[in-house]
């Protein structure tokens, strides 16, 4: 780990000033990803801004529009077990509990979860080229070991995935990220928060380098009954998704009124295809329909050798997740048998 100075600002305004004070400043909250990256010399901040004690960011509150506002410093554990989250947004609770371990969820925060970086092996290995870590050096994953890598939205520069489970559920629920910067506060829809790698894979998100996440806001709950978070991985617990699917349906009798489907483990951001979701409107849940929807979502999917299997796996996962959601039988995050 390199050497750095440390500041513990007492207000968001002071924190923004600290962040602006050095181009190599980094924000630390739970630290579960940043400290790890610093140990690998992947992140080398010269100034660490500890936001973990900023006032007002550690609570979950009603929004007034029927939604919930989850403060950026609310731990993953606190969010997952909050009774309002469990009752109104069980998809979010389920996705959070599908990720990491009890120890990590206790320390990791809501804001930090969104800002965690890819677990691409090449990104983590400071001895090899990686355009995400060092712009312009290339992507060894494309022709290398790429079992965990993306099949959608990739570029020549990068085929990394975003590792978060929480963000996949938030994408399906159309959450909004509230951020503060030197020019005031603004909202970033979750769908626009993470970005595709394109020519600038070093940028994971559209959050400005001088901005701080204040909260994640959930709109009024609509999918508390017909939902599932189906996560497929190389071991039953404590592993990142090879493919995950957050599926949420609003049903009227046996007809789908609205569908939301977001995929994790397949792209540089949670993957949603609104055109595919619309195909379910007015339809009764049916395997043939689900297959068509899955094919639409995976249109243009491309494997790189080691991850070719993900295309068929994702297709089947979408179909299975839609079946689970329609039946109101969400995937258990304890009993991993897939029904």
């Amino acid at each position: 780990m390199n050497r750095f100075s440390y500041a513990r600002p007492g207000s968001v305004a002071d924190a923004l000033r600290e962040v602006a004070s050095s181009p190599a400043a980094k924000i630390i909250a739970g630290g579960t990803n940043l400290v790890d990256l610093m140990k690998y010399n992947v992140e080398r901040p010269t100034h660490l801004v500890d936001v973990s004690r900023l006032p007002g960011l550690k609570s979950i509150e009603e929004t007034g529009e029927g939604g919930l506002r989850i403060g950026a410093l609310v731990s993953n554990t606190s969010a997952a077990y909050d009774t309002r989250v469990q009752e109104r947004y069980p998809l979010l609770s389920s996705a959070i509990l599908a990720g990491a371990t009890a120890q990590l969820r206790n320390a990791a925060t809501t804001g930090g979860n969104l800002l965690q970086r890819t677990r691409c092996y090449y990104f983590y290995d400071a001895a090899v080229p990686c355009s995400k870590r060092e712009p312009g050096t290339g992507c060894p994953a494309k022709d290398g070991v790429n079992r965990i890598h993306a099949i959608l939205g990739t570029s020549d520069k990068c085929i990394a995935t975003h590792p978060s489970d929480m963000a996949v559920a938030l994408a399906a629920l159309e959450a909004v990220v509230k951020v503060a910067g030197p020019r005031g506060e603004r909202d970033i829809p979750l769908a626009d928060f993470h970005r595709l790698p394109g020519d600038t894979p070093e940028k994971d998100t559209n959050l400005g380098a001088d901005e701080i996440i204040l909260a994640v806001e959930l709109p009024e709950a609509r999918f508390a009954k017909n939902y599932t978070y189906l996560k497929l991985r190389d071991r039953l617990s404590y592993a990142f998704a090879l493919v995950s699917v957050a599926a949420a349906l609003e049903m009227d009798g046996d007809k789908v009124v609205e569908a939301r489907i977001a995929l994790g483990g397949v792209a540089h951001k949670p993957w949603r295809v609104p055109e595919a979701e619309v195909m379910l409107r007015g339809k009764a849940p049916d395997r043939m329909v689900f297959e068509t929807v899955a094919d639409r979502i995976l249109l243009g999917a491309k494997g790189y050798g080691g991850n070719d299997f993900k295309i068929e796996l994702a297709r089947r996962a979408v179909i299975r997740a839609l079946s689970q959601a329609a039946a109101g039988t969400p995937q258990s995050q304890t009993d991993k048998r897939i029904q």
Binding site: N2, S5, R8, L48, T101, A102, Q103, A107, Y238
Partner: protein, 181 residues
């Protein structure tokens, strides 16, 4: 500087030095196993290195040093965390319980420690302090009731000897006896 020696052992060349004007050490207060301690730490010292290198509390183990194995699990303000991923300076003012702090002052073992002995829930013992601290955290959380739930909620603690069956037995036993503290 033990921290630098450690880095050298890991094959990392330390940087030229801290940015100019950087205070070498920052004063913090931690209550460790019931004892309030005024300490001075460098900002890059993890809680784990502070415990082992500076305070000679060797019960907390360094396994992977990356939050993957759970050997470094401690209780921070009652909640289990990986001490290898926590910078000590960020935990200023907190209460920390390590495996050394679980037994009573008179040496009476914590029910979880008793259960680990009774169920032979270890072989080499290296992961055991982390397993026990994690299990104590699990009891307090109260989310695990079944054997299956215990296994899921203990997934952050690896045991390369493979003593999992007996570890789950031990935790299940303590849960059944309602000895949760």
């Amino acid at each position: 500087m033990a921290d630098l020696e450690f880095l050298a052992r890991q094959g990392f060349a330390p940087d030229a030095g801290p940015p100019k004007g950087l205070p070498d050490e920052i004063p913090i207060t931690l209550t460790i196993n019931g004892e309030r301690r005024a300490l001075h730490v460098r900002p890059w010292t993890t809680l784990l290195d502070l415990l082992r290198e500076d305070l000679s509390l060797y019960g907390t183990k360094k396994g992977c040093d990356h939050g993957q194995c759970g050997a470094c699990t401690v209780l921070l303000d009652g909640e289990r965390i990986n001490s290898c991923l926590a910078l000590a300076v960020t935990k200023d003012g907190s209460e920390l319980t390590t495996v050394e702090g679980l037994a009573g002052k008179d040496g009476t073992l914590h029910p979880m420690q008793e259960a680990f002995i009774e169920h032979d829930a270890f072989q080499c013992g290296y992961c055991t302090p982390g397993q026990i601290c994690s299990a104590v955290g699990l009891l307090k959380e109260g989310h695990a009731k079944t054997r299956e739930e215990i296994r899921e909620m203990m997934s952050g603690n690896l045991c390369r000897c493979g003593a999992y069956t007996n570890i789950v037995d031990a935790i299940e036993d303590v849960l059944a006896k309602g000895a949760a503290k």
